[in-house]
């Protein structure tokens, strides 16, 4: 039971509040921009985020990552490099993992998007989340939502028979091995260096679901 006397403000609420105040201070700038040729262009997009239909009116420049974090307050998906190099923003769209920072929200009309919040929750962890906890697949945790979304999709890719750079025989079904997992997870960087534990976590889930 959490202590009732302390105000229950989670880290997530704080982040969301911070984003809201940033938006408030940014609005005069947006108004200035509106007066010149570089005025923001708004567009509507409807998609399904973690099973829930959502319709947003967004600046066309908004990435899927910023739509999730800044507009839907789903701050589980992280912004790392914002250039597709680190994988912290990985989400699953129509069953496939992508870098949400390198995709415009308006290009996802009708898409089904799954973020870390959609995979599981503290009281009902996804098996991959549970395995990351069990195997210490993180230290600071910043890359973890991306790692987990990526890992879930990797096992589906192997199941679907998609080969990788290290698959010895292109025409055979790929296997779950440490070498395969390391190659397939290379788009997710972990600055704390929890890689070996991440591979152990994924291996365990693969064994359980094989």
């Amino acid at each position: 039971m959490p202590p009732i006397e302390t105000p229950s403000i989670s880290r997530r609420c704080l982040v969301a509040a911070g984003a809201a105040s940033a938006a408030a201070t940014a609005s005069p700038l947006a108004a200035t921009a509106a007066s010149n040729a570089d005025a923001p262009v708004l567009a509507k997009v409807s998609f399904e985020i973690n099973g829930k239909p959502q319709t947003l009116e967004l600046d066309t420049r908004t990435t899927l990552l910023d739509a999730l974090r800044e507009h839907l307050k789903l701050t589980g998906t992280k912004k790392g490099c914002d250039h597709g190099q680190c994988g912290a923003c990985t989400v699953i769209v129509e069953g496939r993992r992508i870098n949400s920072c390198l995709s415009l929200a308006v290009m996802h009309e009708g898409d089904r998007v799954t973020t870390i919040e959609g995979l599981g929750a503290p009281d009902r962890l996804h098996p991959m989340q549970a395995a990351f906890v069990k195997h210490d697949g993180y230290q600071c945790g910043y890359c973890t939502p991306g790692q987990i979304c990526s890992a879930v999709a990797v096992l589906d890719e192997i199941k679907a028979g998609i080969p990788s750079h290290v698959s010895a025989d292109l025409t055979a079904s790929p296997e779950v091995s440490g070498e395969e997992l390391r190659e397939r997870m290379s788009g997710n960087i972990c600055r704390c260096g929890a890689y070996s534990n991440i591979v152990e976590a994924i291996t365990e889930v693969a064994g359980r679901t094989a």
């Binding site: 250039h83 870098n99 009309e109 080969p163 290379s186 788009g187």
Partner: protein, 315 residues
């Protein structure tokens, strides 16, 4: 990022009409374009989303080859059973590039059209003839470990970053396009990418508004297919040097090299030397090379990588 208007198109005719708008640019996977838009290296005023054009199929051609739709994702092209069996060098090249997340988004046409990763092209504080024609080249006289050694000019020494295109060059692929006026044409991959010359900002043979619709592969030629990529780390890095090779049982074959020029590098005359080994082949392949102290190693690396590939093909 600069503001832009956005439109989804459903037919090549709609795409062509949209392409006439000022500052218009096509977007498919967007993995390279958005990266460059964030840095304001690309500043389109109108984005035309071509993902609804139904160009995402791989079909057999009448002459026994494959027609790969422009929107086929890199993951799907690499995993296609026919590609894995008959054009393995292409699967291997695709799988050696980028990350799983990026391959899920990146398209066949977009891969061909991706821009150089020259660090001076990306650094908007430095002059670059690609970004600003006539500004000068910061790479020349700069740090050039990753730069081109063949086909360079006084204006640009950037390399083309694609792995896929190197395999397609070895396979003799052709690029099918449609122009805004509806005219269609086929461009051999050898002529698709340009050398920098005095106009390094012009990177392909495409006319303004011209849209890639497909890439075709000729009928399979058999042989052992190898794509050997040498890079700074084991995965998720651009090539320092790469070799795409198709070697026949009699030792003859085809070789294209990546990481050395503004386009995939193939010299048919050098291939006649393949049966004599890596050294005579590399000598011809690399003739005319211009190196800096930073990137002269690439000549040795090409020869040795080719040697390793030929040994693997014989094994």
């Amino acid at each position: 990022m600069k503001a832009f208007t956005y439109e989804r198109v459903r037919s090549p005719a709609e795409a062509a009409a949209a392409a006439r708008k000022p500052g218009a640019k096509f977007i498919a996977g967007g993995t390279n374009l958005l990266d460059l838009m964030k840095l304001q290296i690309e500043t389109p005023r109108h984005l035309i989303d071509v993902n609804g054009l139904a160009l995402d199929k791989i079909d057999k051609t009448p002459d026994g080859g494959l027609r790969i739709g422009a929107l086929v994702r890199n993951t799907d092209l690499a995993a296609d059973k026919r590609v894995r069996r008959d054009y393995a060098v292409l699967s291997r090249a695709l799988l050696a590039g980028a990350s799983g997340q990026l391959r899920n988004k990146a398209t066949t046409a977009g891969n061909l059209l991706q821009r150089t990763r020259c660090p001076y092209f990306y650094d908007t504080n430095m002059p670059c003839n690609k970004r600003m024609p006539g500004a000068g080249c910061s790479a020349i006289g700069g740090f050039t470990r990753s730069h081109a050694v063949l086909g360079t000019s006084e204006a640009c020494i950037a390399t083309h970053p694609s792995d896929m295109a190197v395999a397609m060059r070895a396979l003799g692929a052709e690029v099918e396009t449609v122009k805004p006026d509806g005219a269609v044409r086929t461009i051999p991959i050898a002529d698709f990418h340009r050398l920098p010359g005095a106009t390094p900002h012009l990177e392909t043979a495409l006319a303004p508004g011209e849209l890639i619709t497909a890439v075709t592969l000729p009928k399979p030629i058999g042989g052992v297919h190898i794509y050997q990529k040498v890079r700074d780390r084991a995965s998720y890095a651009f090539a320092l040097v790469s070799v795409a090779a198709i070697v026949q049982r009699d030792g003859s074959g085809r070789v294209a090299v990546g990481g050395v020029a503004h386009k995939p590098w193939r010299v048919e005359a050098a291939e006649a030397q393949l049966r004599r080994g890596a050294k005579p082949t590399a000598d011809l392949l690399l003739s005319g090379a211009k190196t800096t102290p930073d990137n002269a190693y690439k000549l040795t690396l090409v020869e040795r990588t080719l040697g390793a590939v030929l040994a693997q093909a014989r094994a």
